[in-house]
Symmetry: C2
Amino acid sequence: MRQLHLNLFIHGRGHHEAAWRHPAASPLGLADIRYYTGLAQQAEAGLFDSIFLADTLAVGDDVAHAPRAWLEPVTALAAIAGATRRIGLIATCSTTYTEPYNLARQFASLDHISGGRVGWNIVTTWLAAAGRNYGEEAQPSHAGRYARAEEYMQAVTALWDSWADDAVLDDRAAGRYAAPGRIRRIDHAGAHYRVAGPLNLPRGPQGRPVFVQAGSSETGRGFAARHAEAVFTAQMEKATAVEFYADLKARAAALGRPANQVLVLPGLCPVIGGTEAEAQRIWRELGDLSDPEVGRQRLSGRFGGHDFTHLPLDRPLAPEDFPDPATVQAARSRTEVIVGLVRREAPTLRQLLDYLAGARGHFVTLGTPEQVADLIEDWFTTGAADGFNLMPPVLPAMLGGFIEQVVPLLQRRGLFRREYGAETLRGHYGLPRPEARFPGHP
Amino acid sequence: MRQLHLNLFIHGRGHHEAAWRHPAASPLGLADIRYYTGLAQQAEAGLFDSIFLADTLAVGDDVAHAPRAWLEPVTALAAIAGATRRIGLIATCSTTYTEPYNLARQFASLDHISGGRVGWNIVTTWLAAAGRNYGEEAQPSHAGRYARAEEYMQAVTALWDSWADDAVLDDRAAGRYAAPGRIRRIDHAGAHYRVAGPLNLPRGPQGRPVFVQAGSSETGRGFAARHAEAVFTAQMEKATAVEFYADLKARAAALGRPANQVLVLPGLCPVIGGTEAEAQRIWRELGDLSDPEVGRQRLSGRFGGHDFTHLPLDRPLAPEDFPDPATVQAARSRTEVIVGLVRREAPTLRQLLDYLAGARGHFVTLGTPEQVADLIEDWFTTGAADGFNLMPPVLPAMLGGFIEQVVPLLQRRGLFRREYGAETLRGHYGLPRPEARFPGHP
């Protein structure tokens, strides 16, 4: 039977905007590695496939009012690797602001360190403030970032393939460390990058990290269909999730890729109560801790700095209140999702901010453990998801609630593993281990 | 009483060129994190101040005959941090090939992860093959690399100082995460870098990583006097070590820096036997495992690819057999040391390669534990060293021998700690914690 995949998305003290202030949130600081290690161990005890650290390459303007700072993902996951044994470890890293040789090395090293458990969430970085931390006056356009990312993928994949799996002999008696024909230069020379190679460490247990992607714009979907092995996506309703799922699988199939090698994992923020009323109470409690002005500033950031200052909180919104998503050189797909919601439901700004506070435009559901399990089963069995990018509102408490109350229901229904069946992230996700391709050297 | 500092330099399966083939070397692979973790724990049990991982940004041409590949240092040390509690962790990272914002973040993150134990070995990277992995046809000149490195230090130091120590409030009740006046942009805009800042994580326990440097050329000494808090240096005899020590302390003093805040740690490769004859036997055994043609190729690499192919192994060398070190755009100080040795002692090429095989131009000494302790005490008390960058010929066995046989002698003489007295690397090295300087914002 087809099995569900669960990834824990670690973000601040939870995904709700006010999580960091909630009494059930972790008492630890956000630069304390024990916080992250503890969550990873908790998710591993819950048999999750993986954990995931997002990233932003600049501190948020609203850091006075919200925790916009965290450990750097690659170093954090290297530390977490030693404190876990099975769970996959997915780090975000930017193609726009990291040298290909450095990225390829660090992820290969992480794959060795973790025994084959690393995944790379490929981002092109849309934040103008990030560009200013990397010498740029104006950030490259959305299309420009993706064009560079395409070439970047060629270069780093070639680096990961520059050592054959059997390259290391380590023959101490004969004094032969490596089989020389099995380590090759890549001589990548494109419009944006020149990388001679080979990489300076042996191929990792997984060959390459698992490729994860989260861009859902038209350009992002094309990129995901070509490269991604797992896709994190933000969907605000099942109908769009089904559309996205079908579209991405079709795009992958058109490129000759098997549908089960491109997993679609929508974000899911479950607010779980013993009764529906209790879930509602928890949600209101979180809303009461939120500041709509923090939300307004965040919304402005999403729309490339657009000024929403004068928009009243309590009149219904119209699409005309927003700039055209096609003109936003940012995380375009998320802006499309928000304007789509406004078009369908005409919420007030206060209602919109209240919803976005839950999980920043990902799907939020309130209910009992049974209801959450029903929703997961429904999306999983009717073409909306291969699993979920779980975004608990408050960490670690509401991850604990999900593991204790929802996971057993999923197991009882035969949807989720009762023990780990594999050692690597590729194994958990059911993905093949790629052969080294030796590009440029047929 | 002034105390000796000991750093374990981890390199392959030991510092002797043939270590990887030696029967006493670790059975683990060189991409196996357990190898590095085990050495760090061993050094910590021996109360060492720190461990150190060097780095090279390209695979060696002679990888067929020697292990020229290893884990990436930053990720490896993040993993080691969790497996150790007290020992300092020093990673090499290149100013020429790493974005300042990325380096500042990863080292700040490592400092948080390790609880204030991280050091940064600042290198400008001299290898032409490295440049070709980063888009360069020709590598920047020796002087050009150092000019960029000066500006780089300004930018990363400003990033580490962009959060005041008291910036994080994490006041959950009041909804105030940070004191906004205590997190500031750096707006660095120089000839080579533009970095707006601030950094996106709080200041680490040490404020900044401990700055380590190993360039010993004229330019390198000036850079070390300005920035380094510990200097690893390669000296082939005590006389040059004394000269270097006095020169560096004088340069630092001229800049107003206290002499005890620039520690000088020469490399030391001790070949220890129960008797002198046994030490000689161990040395010959290692020599017998070495291939002079591997050494010849390495020597060529040191001299910027100069061709030594036709030089006979067994006639005495003269300085004219080498290119002028001033013309070598590489690790210039090491080439000066080698040509100096040739001028003084006129060894044959075979003898030179045999010596360099021991520790690549660092000081090698053969003797009993008493003799090694005598040498350490002599250098330490007569102005040649503040401690040593220990380079055991074979790992982990010969580190174990040093800890079991030499460390107790040093302790008995009152030269070395009997327990850790501090929690951070700055504490071990006796260095102050720097105040945040808030550059550009007086």
